[in-house]
């Protein structure tokens, strides 16, 4: 078992974000003729963007992992549950009111995500949170409602901000600079550590609330801490990069398949793996279109949505 653990850790760090970033950098190096221009491009445009992508991917896939564990539902994910949508409403209101990105918009996004979280839990906990269908259905409805509100807000806007907002909504990483990436890192990293700290209680929670409690887990405290930390992470990413969907579905499932269900391994793996995945998706989004680029959210949804359907089909057997 110990050997297995060591092998896992080795395996993760070899396929990690670090080497992912290195690859990306090397690709950039080879594809363009090296010049002093390149230095600027890499340091002012590419690197912040890659960092941003890695952070967003890490936060979202960790968010998915936490929700899947807490709700004991393999299909849970911030985007599917509508929590991303809720924080997007908050963020749009913030943008329209002309707040700055960091405290203003993020704070409203956080409020939005907590509000949706409470709404979903309230709607589905009447019977039992564990019921897959109830949870997913309420998520779909919350999402539809959020989308309507977002469209309403967007159609009320007439000016030049419109294009920006729509692009941002679809999950756009192009706005980032080093400063943004720094702030995002500062907000997300403590959350990563916190979630990792709680990874063993998460394992125990998977065995059922009763068993977890009689093994000495303070269920209420752990659950609330995790939910709030996750909503915080999600809203932070949403306020910077808009709606990037399904990342929290793809990575946790893939990693669980390879590494098993132990969260003490999965949490760091999700941070690294999610980051890598997002960096790749963003790379595709940049490279695929002949002119300009498309939002990374398009790519993640194109990969994630079919996977979701596959998982739904498999889990309903």
């Amino acid at each position: 078992m110990l050997l297995l653990g060591i092998a896992m850790v080795l395996g993760i760090s070899m396929g990690s974000t670090d080497s992912g970033i290195k690859d990306v950098l090397q690709n950039l190096f080879l594809s363009k003729t090296s010049d002093s221009m390149l230095y600027t491009i890499i340091w002012q445009i590419r690197l912040p963007r890659v960092l941003l992508a890695a952070l967003v991917g890490a936060a979202l896939s960790l968010g998915g992992l936490v929700f899947q564990a807490l709700l004991r539902n393999p299909l849970a994910e911030p985007y599917i549950l509508g929590i991303s949508g809720g924080s997007a409403i908050g963020a749009i209101i913030g943008i329209l009111m002309g707040f700055s990105r960091f405290p203003g918009v993020s704070l409203l996004a956080f409020t939005g995500s907590i509000a949706t979280l409470l709404l979903i839990l309230g709607m589905s906990s009447g019977q039992t949170i564990l019921k897959k269908d109830a949870l997913l259905l309420s998520g779909v409805m919350v999402n539809a409602f959020c989308a309507a509100v977002i469209m309403f807000l967007v159609s009320m806007t007439q000016d030049s901000r419109l294009h920006n907002i729509i692009f941002w909504l679809m999950g756009d990483l192009s706005m980032g600079d080093m400063h943004h990436a720094g702030i995002l890192a500062a907000t997300l990293l403590p959350c990563f550590v916190l979630v990792f700290w709680l990874s063993n209680p998460m394992n125990l929670l998977l065995m059922g609330k009763e068993m977890a409690q009689t093994m000495g887990v303070n269920i209420k405290a752990v659950t609330i801490t995790l939910l709030v930390a996750t909503s915080f992470m999600v809203s932070a990413t949403v306020s910077y990069c808009g709606l990037v969907g399904f990342v929290g579905l793809v990575m946790p499932h893939l990693l669980r398949l390879v590494l098993g269900p132990d969260h003490r391994v999965l949490v760091p793996a999700c941070v690294l793996g999610g980051g890598t995945y997002m960096v790749f998706c963003d790379l595709l989004a940049r490279v695929l279109p002949k002119q300009g680029e498309m939002p990374a959210g398009v790519i993640t949804a194109m990969i994630g949505a079919p996977l979701f359907i596959y998982l739904l089909k498999r889990s309903s057997r």
Partner: protein, 270 residues
Amino acid sequence: MNTAITAENLSHSFGEDLVLRNVSFSIPKKDFFIIIGPNGSGKTTLMKVMSGILKPKNGQVKILNRPIDQYHRKALARTIAFVPQKAPTDFPFSVAEVVLMGRSPYLGMLGLEEENDLKIAKEAIAFTAMENLAHRKLDQLSGGEQQRTFIARAICQEPDIILLDEPTASLDLAYQAKIMDLMEKLKNEKGITVVMVSHDVNLAAMYADHLLLLHKGQVLCQGLPDEVLTYKTLEAAYGCTLLVDESPLGRSPRVTLVPQKYMNIDRQIE
């Protein structure tokens, strides 16, 4: 004082429903104690109150003569282990991983196990004869094997008391005997107090040192099996006609359900 668990005037209600009414009893150390009673008599609620999952509205539970709410979470988990009736198995942990989870009340936040913990887990797996299945995933096991895994996990917790909520429900005959023998061995070899909720009156009669018969949230009767399992008490609790005689194995009462079509014969016997 050699008591493992003392219940003093426990009352509990869900909304308007009184589920437990002034329940008092005490369980000696190293006892095999089985709680029986009809559906909805409050057995599971009582179990949850004893394990500290539920806080009773009134009264208190003492574990090893100390009120349960004076225990720290982890200290309580080192004293009492609980095996629920059904546990989710949809995340594919292996048997060994589940058993090792039983060590977490002894470990720090991350639950990183040491040599000694691995050894204890190994022993628990051996005790429940699960060696061959140790690396199988939980969702590939039969109901009885899953149940044994959860029992091994509870043993790995090294508690003084193990509580089990209907561990034999939905198991076939061979497995019922296996689980009950295992609990008896646990009591005899490790000196653990075993407290169990059971549906099966006959199984309870054969294994229990003491029985508690619960009816509508109240203690109807408690004591030795042949004191509790009488025609009178059982009929009062279950409201159906039963025949009580001695088991062919001797020394324990045997309860036979009397179907409607035998009713007339039954009267003749009386």
